[in-house]
Symmetry: C2
Subunit: 347 residues, 2 copies
């Protein structure tokens, strides 16, 4: 088994787009995280180190670690070992879910590299995801008390529950807005919430602030997921780096499609339902056109905005604490990303 990849110099994760402004401030923290994650590879059993290293290498924007660092921000901006450790925990949990997601979606590529499932086969990928989960909890257990471990394990279970519900309801038209909100609350917002709560707690903020930051993170996570689902229909393929309409093709009812469904008349509605159930081939071009005609974009964008407003409201009483303006800056970034979906060419 080659150890060549261990010798590579540590480097911060690549960051593109509007997040870069926020992330510029986090450069030393992200570099420390990267060094820390790479140092963890040697804790894995020798036979699976190369694979663990491969997964850590494919990591993406590192939004969850950013939430940890921003929520725990103190001046002067020294890098805190506790924050780095907890950022590694949430990122490893996230990477583990990606490794398992890519098996299920039969994805070929993630962020310009073969997925672990393609590189090592689906069977090894199931186990590799398990090993990443285990290591995340192992790192969580290295804090002086069991508090972090309790929070992380409970969150992880909730993330899995959300993914299970989403999986089992694929192709089902009996899926309401309430179901949609519940799924994204579990599968996405839970880890955003945990990142903000643990970050602010470890940053030495009062418990009430950690609770408020957690609420902020939860709303931001819901907003982020709705934005992501919107981008699946209204994004520019080049910019978001994936094919449009994959949710329709895989029978996944997200907010844009739920909203369109509400606006279609009897027989058209039945036809769309049959496409979701897989009884008829999805008419993607037609559905994209109908979404424009029915004005789905502003309606869904408004739902993102409502969550952003709730996120900001959670922090309103805490303007004087150092993390607050930084976290609120993420709201601006997300608003900018939503706006960018329709510029310059739109759909």
């Amino acid at each position: 088994m080659s150890n060549a990849s261990f010798a590579e110099p540590a480097r911060p994760a690549p960051v593109a787009g509007p997040f870069s402004r926020v992330f510029a401030r986090l450069e030393p923290h992200m570099a420390a995280l990267d060094r820390f994650l790479r140092s963890q590879v040697s804790d894995f059993e020798p036979e699976i180190r190369e694979m663990a290293d491969y997964c850590i290498d494919t990591s993406g924007k590192r939004i969850r670690p950013a939430l940890v660092f921003l929520s725990g921000w103190r001046e002067p901006a020294a890098v805190s070992n506790d924050l780095v450790r907890v950022a590694a925990v949430v990122e490893l949990v996230h990477l583990a879910t990606l490794v398992h997601d890519d098996i299920m979606d039969e994805a070929e590529v993630r962020r310009n590299r073969r997925t672990a499932a393609r590189a090592y086969g689906p069977v090894a990928a199931v186990l590799l995801g398990d090993a990443l989960f285990s290591h995340a909890l192992y790192l969580a257990a290295q804090f002086p008390t069991t508090e972090i471990c309790l929070a992380v394990s409970a969150s992880t279970r909730r993330v899995c529950a959300g993914e299970i519900v989403q999986t089992l309801r694929r192709g089902s038209t009996d899926f309401t807005r309430a179901d949609y909100w519940r799924v994204i609350d579990l599968k996405t917002a839970e880890l955003f919430r945990l990142s903000c709560q643990l970050g602010s707690q470890l940053g030495g903020n009062p418990p009430a602030y950690a609770e408020a930051a957690g609420r902020f993170g939860r709303h931001l996570g819901i907003a982020y997921q709705i934005y992501d689902d919107l981008a699946d229909y209204f994004g520019q393929e080049k910019r978001i780096g994936k094919t449009l309409g994959t949710d329709l093709l895989s029978g996944k009812l997200t907010l844009p499609l739920l909203t369109l469904m509400d606006r279609l008349t009897g027989s058209e509605r039945v036809a769309l339902q049959e496409e979701i159930r897989g009884a008829h081939a999805p008419q993607l071009a037609l559905r994209l056109r109908q979404m424009v005609e029915q004005g789905i974009f502003p309606i869904v964008a408004e739902a993102v905005q409502a969550e952003i407003t709730s996120a900001a409201a959670a922090l309103a009483p805490w303007g004087q604490l150092a993390p607050t303006p930084l976290l609120l800056g993420l709201c601006d970034v997300l608003q900018g990303q939503v706006a960018a979906l329709q510029t310059p060419a739109g759909t």
Copy 2:
């Protein structure tokens, strides 16, 4: 989602065969474990409770919990909440690995019920296994210190590493005895070791005893796995409840086949290697006959015995402690099971 199964009365897991003697003593402990595991179902998110309950229900002989209870044995034989909790942790980790194993093996049935992968689909089963892992760590984090969580998460990672190596080496003839020992040390012996170590520790025994009990468990686990691999060729299908020769059919080199390989001459050896690589259809009947002719059974049985001897030796200085005679009783049980493989009809 039906809650009907919650209303079922708690009942001890079914136990068959020679383990029943040892387990009779553990009846109140196993009943407490069963109640505890069932009570955990309500901690899962409502949408996945039925599935969690289904997995817990399919659990088997509960050997690992038995190791916990026996290692922590004290007179009078009261049921200890700490032991019940840690028994639940190791059993949930084991159940999670079974849920994931059954996906990979495309198994239809385990212990006379459909596997979770068949009942809910492979995708949900991946996530359900993850949720069971998470909950195991959540329970481990409920002890006053992080010690249990650290031990369990490190062990879980090692179990996964063992399974990964086994998976990646399937169909490979470049697999030595050393590789075989390493795989079973990780995939099976690790959780046996952990069960004995944590059980004796929580039972209030001295640290040196916990360490010795861990060594006992590790050797017993290796012995148990070699026995299990022997049963795949020499078992009686009715008694062990599975088809013979599945390891050969799936290209898995275990000790009986490694031993046969050593004894075959040039061209016969090449033919067997091609069967393992999947280049030729496995000639199971021929290989079973050759195993009898070459006297493979006593050689492999001797390897089981050597590990049992090492297990017993680990406890030799500790005869006066309450768990010791009970743990040594498991050695007798395993010896009896090995002997029973060839009686009355043999192969």
